[in-house]
């Protein structure tokens, strides 16, 4: 209760200084990252932070002040500073902001987890990573074998001037490994489970489930084999994407495009805007009828799951694309109010010292009824691509080009030669209109993205993207530099 009361002091001082709404988050965060390269520990980094961030609404602008000093006097000063900063914005005012209504609750939430990751011994984690890299190093031509683990343990106490009192304990764990083969004039890399590792909400059981040891040898052999593989063919082909690459495709070409703050122009200068226009919500054709996307912050284990967002809105499942038609957005209380929509509970900050903003939760593509093997068997001339290597998309989330680590030719229903440097490019709605096969629930994975950047100052969010492998009828592949 003491932490609620500390935060409450900041809220009250913001109101006294002129704010018409204020909230405060007291956040204690602990994290750990371990990196091993070629059998040697490169770094063990642990971090701890604590502090309070106060948000005050005056006129058309949010003012925000954060401090690690949690003394009574500092918290009162922080609340007043937040209101004063908001008031300074009156030099360049907009229309007064209002906040969409949400239930005022007192509640607690904790991520379901079995083994608290920070309580697992350091030596057990290091031993796992060292063994994995040594397995990869045993393969000829592997010059770099690296492996990493990361975990976060975050506790938040949120209070608002409307009466919210919410405490949350979030636990996130993940990791991965990669092998790099270095040739005369090129590098080739393979990674597992995906290029940034796999992160989920949950404890160390996440790491045990992904079974690093069983996959290290195969990954290293694939990296070495890529050096001698032919280049990805150029031209228009049928494209099959394995799940983690399709997850990134969703993140970049759907997840960011449906952020309501981008649609409203609030991110125009940096992250960009969106090709979507609000007046077409409910009618715009985003893709084929196989395309069913939800933003679901209630999915057990998915990285973008939580109990309440950083405005106190309960987590929820929101339809985004229904049989190819765009029907929903990612929103917060202010943006939803402007758009006349219900708030989606998608406003989060990456620490006590950052202003909460619209972020993806778990924006995922619901599974279909095919399978990867069936898709291959039903493809005459195509390419299968796996595991992201590079990603680039324009500021409206339309024109994209992605590179993958590995590909295979598909000829007459059979997986053929391995190919290197596979890339594909397209325009978002044209691309999604080509989706003609989607694998089913057995291959549906809640992929995690632990490094989504947005905002100024920069914030990094942890988001989830459920996906199974999918097939796209005609896509330009093999773009060369």
């Amino acid at each position: 209760m003491k932490l609620f009361e500390l935060a409450q002091q900041a809220v009250e001082s913001a109101l006294a200084a002129g704010a018409r709404y204020a909230d405060a988050r007291y956040v204690e965060a602990r994290g750990e990252s371990i990196d091993v390269l070629n059998g040697r520990v490169q770094s063990v980094d642990r971090n701890e932070s604590a502090g309070v961030g106060v948000r005050a609404l005056v006129g058309s602008s949010w003012g925000f002040f954060a401090t690690p000093d949690t003394s009574d006097s500092a918290l009162r000063r922080a609340g007043a500073r937040a209101a004063e900063i908001a008031q300074a914005s009156a030099v360049a005012p907009g229309d007064p902001l209002s906040l969409a209504e949400i239930p005022v609750v007192e509640a607690d939430y904790e991520t379901p987890h079995e083994e608290p990751p920070l309580e697992v011994s350091l030596s057990e984690k290091v031993d796992l990573l060292v063994a994995v890299t040594e397995t990869m190093q045993a393969v000829d031509q592997i010059r770099l074998a690296s492996a990493s683990l990361g975990s976060w343990d975050t506790r938040k106490w949120f209070v608002s001037s409307q009466g919210h009192r919410i405490s949350q304990h979030l636990v996130e764990t993940g990791g991965g490994f990669d092998a790099t083969a270095v040739g005369e004039a090129e590098t080739q890399r393979r990674s597992y489970p995906q290029s940034v590792g796999q992160y989920e909400t949950g404890g160390y059981e996440v790491i045990r489930r992904w079974d690093f040891a069983a996959n290290a040898g195969r990954i290293a052999e694939e990296a070495a084999a890529l050096l001698g593989a032919p280049e990805c063919p150029e031209g228009e082909k049928t494209l099959i994407l394995e799940g983690s690459q399709l997850a990134l495709q969703i993140h970049e070409s759907v997840g960011h495009a449906i952020e309501l703050d981008r649609i409203l122009g609030w991110e125009a200068a940096f992250a960009g805007t969106s090709h979507l226009e609000l007046e077409r919500l409910g009618t715009h054709k985003y893709g084929s009828e196989l395309m069913n996307i939800t933003a679901d912050a209630t999915l057990p284990g998915a990285l973008g799951s939580f109990g309440f967002d950083d405005e106190g809105t309960p987590s929820q499942r929101v339809p985004i694309v229904d049989q190819g038609i765009w029907v929903g957005v990612l929103s917060g209380r202010d943006s939803a109010s402007i758009a006349g929509l219900a708030p989606g509970g998608m406003v989060r900050a990456d620490g006590f010292n950052r202003l909460p903003m619209v972020r993806m939760t778990n924006v995922g593509l619901l599974p279909g009824d095919s399978s990867l093997e069936e898709m291959i068997a039903e493809t005459e001339d195509g390419v299968l691509m796996s595991t992201n290597r590079s990603w680039s998309i324009d500021d409206k989330r339309l024109n994209f080009q992605f590179g993958c680590e590995i590909g295979w030719e598909i000829k007459n229903g059979k997986r053929g030669r391995m190919i290197k440097n596979p890339t594909y490019t397209g325009i978002t709605p044209k691309f999604w209109a080509q989706l003609d096969k989607l694998a089913g629930e057995a291959e549906w994975v809640h992929w995690g993205t632990p490094n989504c950047g947005k905002g100024q100052p920069m914030q990094v969010a942890h988001t989830g993207h459920s996906a199974s492998p999918g097939r796209f009828a005609t896509v330009r592949v093999g773009v060369r530099g």
């Binding site: 990196d35 040697r40 520990v41 063990v44 980094d45 642990r46 971090n47 701890e48 932070s49 502090g51 058309s60 602008s61 949010w62 003012g63 925000f64 002040f65 954060a66 401090t67 690690p68 000093d69 004063e84 900063i85 300074a88 914005s89 030099v91 360049a92 005012p93 907009g94 011994s121 350091l122 290091v126 010059r143 770099l144 270095v182 004039a185 090129e186 590098t187 122009g265 609030w266 125009a268 200068a269 940096f270 960009g272 010292n353 950052r354 202003l355 290597r389 590079s390 680039s392 998309i393 324009d394 500021d395 024109n399 080009q401 590179g403 440097n421 490019t425 100024q456 060369r480 530099g481």
Partner: protein, 443 residues
Amino acid sequence: MTDSLDIARRAIEMVGDRAEAEAVATVGRLALTRFANSFIHQNVSEDTVGVWLRVAADGRVAALQGNRSDDASLLRLVDGALEAASLQPRDEEWPGLSAPVEVPDVRHVDPATRDVAPELRAALVRDFIDAGEGLLGAGYCDSAFQEQSFVNTAGQEATGEDTRASIDGIHQTGVSAGSAHQTSMAIGDIDGSAAGQLAADRARRGMDAFDLKPGEYEVVLAPECVASIAIFLSVYGFSGKAVNEGQSFVELGRQQFDPQIEIFDDPLSPGALGVPFDTEGTPKRRLGLVAAGVTSGIAHDRRSAKKAGAESTGHAHPQSAVWGPVAADLVVQGGDESVEDLIAAVDRGLYVATFNYCRILDPKTQVVTGLTRNGTFMIENGKITGAVTNLRFTQSFVAALGPGNVLGFGDDTRFADSEFGAGFVRAPSARLASWNFTGGAEG
């Protein structure tokens, strides 16, 4: 004694003789005023405290980071680091601590930028917005002050402070956008009106853009584009770790670039930013990276230097063991031609204001894909004749600056945003013989 120096000393005293240790402490304030749709919608400020402690106990290394400076919190940090280190295998590549050595007495500090009132940032934003009458402005104005100190158990101490201010924004017509950026040590140097006028001019000239067929074009690149090229060369190429691992294009002593290319890291000159030492306590100094087109330098921290049999060049940061040391006070040497002169020399080509969302496909070849943004213009017979919709490129950055491909540099060197943030690169405009555009608005 400064606050940060006191924090770093106390942390090292708590370690005592239990381990080798180095501490970096920071105290500062970061404030940022953000605007969109021509009004201020977010206005933030924070007091910052940071403590980074790395210990090496009998060759077993661990690092901890926190944001509390009271004795109890520091002791918890110290004990946690020592415990983490004790559970580790020996780090055979641990390079040891920096010995006591003099650090240059250079301070890139403007007193007026230490604690900027939100009203001043708001006024600069107002100037930017007003310069684009009838347009929609968006962007930010920020100010930052940081005091940083380093102390280690080998007796090295260093302390410094720095300030920075930037304005970065766009104006939008509804069908086009133009951008502008300014960064300086002093907020008094920031001219919101001038930045707003440049952004507005680019936006207005960008209307009625047409789709250009992708292909190879001669280009004149504005400083933001050149800064993006430079930071990619630095992060993925001039990093000692990348070189050690065989992932870099760098071949010392070889003519890898056009003879006009001079690139160096210049942290101490007037107009630079930051403190004069790195997070291992190594003094910073000028480091030549490319001289007359010949690759001449590599950025090292103590770890990559030990492996290479070299000396640290003062480019450590808290994550450099994993991500590699980075030269981030980069200067690309300018020329003596005006931007107008560079454009006037082009028969048929493109002028590009900024790149967007650049991503590397292969660090060894430096092939990068990205897009143009906020101003892409057709040049015909030495004149800008119209606007072009944004283009995608897939281009080796090393090849782009390769022998014979550089046709001139502008006299407009300034801090340019490189997509990695403000204040890392000073760059001019550049005229290059060829740039590989691989896609247009329609893919």
